[in-house]
């Protein structure tokens, strides 16, 4: 969980930085998208790096989900009889946000790929520039899309707030002297990602970026 999660966090940081290019200009954003595909050319064929990243990500996602499912199944097996009354003493945040949050994020991910990567459900369709798809996708008329996106990104943020800290714990790099720093760090990274990911769609929906 920790290792695959770390891979995805690194990806999210890159993804967010790329997204922010929309604030510079449509072309800058499109150039970035092209660069992702042409990087390493002509040493390697078109899309080499991107494909590697995609494969690593896909494997990470699958392993992450597999680990989550197996943990969850072990948990069910370890407690066949449920409590009549059960009250969380640690807020229950981590349990709920990770399991239910994780499922929400997967559902969103499918939609997100169909919308902005493959363009199948995007108003501009698959044959369009990434910037077109992005701006059309979050058009003020599609405010509900922005809302879905907002909810999903916040969910990702909450997932990471526990996830990042938890990864350090799982890998054995945490101790009581670092807990405060780790928790703060995890919250900070999550907040930056949430803001970074929400800025473009909100700017588009509210007409700041056209």
């Amino acid at each position: 969980m920790a290792v695959t999660g770390a891979v995805m966090v690194l990806f999210l940081v890159g993804h967010m930085l790329g997204n922010l290019k929309i604030f510079i200009s449509r072309d800058s954003f499109n150039d970035y998208a092209t660069a992702l595909r042409t990087l390493l050319e002509p040493l390697a064929p078109y899309r080499t790096l991107l494909t590697i990243v995609e494969v690593v990500l896909a494997v990470s996602v699958v392993l992450h989900i597999w680990a989550a499912i197996s943990l969850s199944r072990r948990a069910h097996a370890a407690r066949p009889v449920k409590y009549a009354a059960k009250k969380s003493q640690a807020g229950g945040y981590a349990t709920h946000i990770m399991r239910y949050g994780g499922v929400t994020i997967v559902l969103f991910l499918v939609w997100h790929l169909l919308d902005l990567t493959f363009g199948v459900v995007n108003p501009k369709g698959p044959v369009s520039t990434p910037a077109d798809r992005m701006i059309a996708g979050f058009d003020p008329s599609r405010w509900w899309m922005t809302l879905i996106y907002l909810v999903a990104v916040v969910m990702v943020g909450l997932h990471l707030r526990h996830g990042i800290w938890s990864a350090f714990q799982t890998l054995g790099w945490a101790n009581r002297n670092r807990y405060k720093a780790l928790r703060t760090g995890a919250a900070l990274v999550s907040a930056v990602l949430v803001i970074g990911f929400l800025a473009p769609p909100l700017a588009i929906t509210f007409g700041v970026v056209k």
């Binding site: 009889v81 009354a85 054995g172």
Partner: protein, 246 residues
């Protein structure tokens, strides 16, 4: 005080069990929770009913024998307190209290609120010790230990093996229990020779017993009567990963 109790009754492992309601009256706020159950049991015996079976022994919070989930919280809501040290002054007159046994597959119910925690012994058997036969020890001062390390080792070593961590964990994990022993011995020079093999053997035994995995929810440390810190689990993970890398 007058209270209503909803207590898990189960005559044995083969019985499916049920919640049963009891009224208890004239409870003194200075009673301990177990004394309140004693009073109820005295009545049940005389009425020809089967008294509620529950584990208890020292009644001063150190033997780790007692333990029940009270209103959804292992050992009740009073922080850092075993069931035997919980007093009725923390409940309101007229309250309804739900009492259940520790629930985990590796802790099968023996009767009512009594569960079998022998899985913990087997985890210790796997490696929770320093191999030093009696009579073979060098002078106690031959190996100084940093005070900070000795104190942290002590913090981990105060685990009473009650099983509240397992009961509270949404995953039914025994990580805090196992990690407490691993950390205690990992922090001391005496524990070094067997450090990695110990971590591996104990964690593998914990998994083999059918406990769930740790997802770092922190429920365990929140109910732990001795406040075993969560970073013991990080220590365990670190030792375990190193052991596997070898």
């Amino acid at each position: 005080m007058n209270l209503t109790l909803k207590v898990w009754r189960q005559s044995g492992p083969s019985d499916s069990g049920r919640m049963v309601k009891y009224r208890v009256e004239e409870v003194s706020p200075d009673m301990s929770f177990l004394e309140m159950l004693d009073v109820l049991n005295e009545r049940l015996i005389l009425e020809g009913d089967d008294p509620i079976a529950f584990d208890h022994d020292c009644r001063e919070g150190i033997c780790g024998m007692c333990g029940m989930v009270i209103n959804g919280v292992a050992h009740g809501e009073q922080v850092a307190t075993t069931t035997c040290q919980l007093h009725m002054r923390h409940f309101e007159d007229g309250a309804t209290i739900t009492i259940e046994p520790w629930r985990a597959a590796p802790f099968p119910v023996v009767k009512d609120l009594v569960v079998d925690r022998s899985a913990f012994d087997r985890i210790i058997q796997a490696g929770g010790f320093v191999s030093v036969p009696a009579g073979s020890a060098p002078d106690a001062h031959s190996l100084p230990v940093r005070k900070e390390d000795a104190d942290s080792a002590f913090d981990a070593a105060t685990c009473i093996g009650c099983g509240a961590c397992v009961a509270a964990c949404p995953n039914g994990s025994a990580s805090l229990f196992t990690a407490a022993k691993i950390t205690h011995l990992s922090l001391l020079p005496q524990g070094q020779p067997e450090r990695l093999s110990r971590a591996k053997a104990m964690v593998d035994q914990m998994d083999a017993e059918g406990f769930g995995g740790c997802t770092n929810t922190g429920e365990c440390t929140a109910v732990c009567p001795k406040g075993i810190p969560l970073d013991t689990i990080a220590q365990m993970n670190s030792d375990y990963l190193k052991a596997n890398a070898k």
